[in-house]
Amino acid sequence: MDDYISLVNSGILNLFVGVILLLVTIVCIIFLRKGWSQAKTLGVTQAELKKIVVNSVGISLVPSIPIVLSVMVMVPVLGVALPWLRTSVIGSANNELIAATMAAEATGVEFSANGMTMPAWINAAWAMTLGCSIALPIVLVVLKPVCRTYDTFRQKDSRWIGIFSLCALITVIAAFSVSNAIKGAMPTIVIVSCFVFSYICTLVAKNPKLKWMKDYSFPLTILFGLVVSLVVSPIIS
């Protein structure tokens, strides 16, 4: 067992993952610079862009915590390198866990700190990579023709395509909200309270003195939802 853990935590694996994540970060910086200069060309001010950066950091912080928790669940079983890579790029923690568990069990071992073996780990690494990376090649092939099709529609009726994109957005939000709400009372209360709080923030932000609320209403609403869940959860249970 000690051999297994020391093997899957070997420095060279961690170094390899570090290099891959550095490359991904460089790609993000390249995109960031291009997006930034394009936004400025189109008239988005430096101050607005700075607000967007602060907002994006704030919004990304809280959802990162469950990802870190998933890594903590996987590390005792799979070592540091594999969960670190798979949760930092492409994959969602849940899918990665499903793929790893299926591979381990198909190998005939239990997906636990004591049950794993090196062949099972190799199978899990391949299953996670092959199974959970499929979305990216599909997008790389399909996205350009899809965008071209939308462009054709946009040229015909730009106002309608605006409504179309709003319809798509509203449906995405509605579908995820309903799918979370039907899981129980607690998520329903959180969704409804966040909806109301967000609306109140929008109303408050109409006051010229409280205009700053508009910039921070989204992260504030998420924090409000989390506080609601902490307060209401003991009462419900």
Binding site: F16, V27, L32, G35, L143, L169, D215, S229
Partner: protein, 225 residues
Amino acid sequence: MSDFEKLMHRYGRIYGWAMLLAISAFPVMASIYFGIWPDLAVIWPGVLTMWILMASYVLSEMIAFPPILGPGSLYLTYITGNLQNQKIPCALSAMSVAGIETGTEKANAVSVVAVAVSSITTTIIIALGILLMTPLKPVLNSEFLAPAFNNVVPAIFGALAGMWFLKEVKVSVASILICILGLLVLKIDMQWVLLGGIVLTVLVARGMYQAGIIGKEKETDKEKK
């Protein structure tokens, strides 16, 4: 297609394939290093299951997201993952902060900024989480904080609903009813509800648009300007 969109497609494809190759190199490198190769006969059913599960989601996402976010942020999102819980909320919040409508050139540009910043933030947080795993473990695993961590996604979508549903109330009500019907009454899988929901909501909105019920306000706004 604008020059920026063309550039994003070119960059997205080049860097997307390069990153896919780099990420896929990890198990290859591990197999060479340990001298152990996978038993493909054992793992293929699991891999196939994941492909079926994920392909249906990507299909619906490819209908839903390109008109909202634009290509640049989508390529980056699929390289770095966490679409629904991080990248979409960040991009939408960025549009709201800058007062930009979805589907415009400006929206495409600020989405790229928001998604790139979000990706870098998440990479740093996960790395810090691993470095500080031992001291953080009791805090993150505490029973007191568990309800908060379990309700991050509902909080995100409640907040998004508050930001966007009231922009077209009639369409939003129709969309919510369609999703409730699909998920709660007919118990259809999420990815198909997403796909069917978009089609039905667009059809309802198209009817409203042609009848002049929606889409009028923006025209008046433009006239004022």
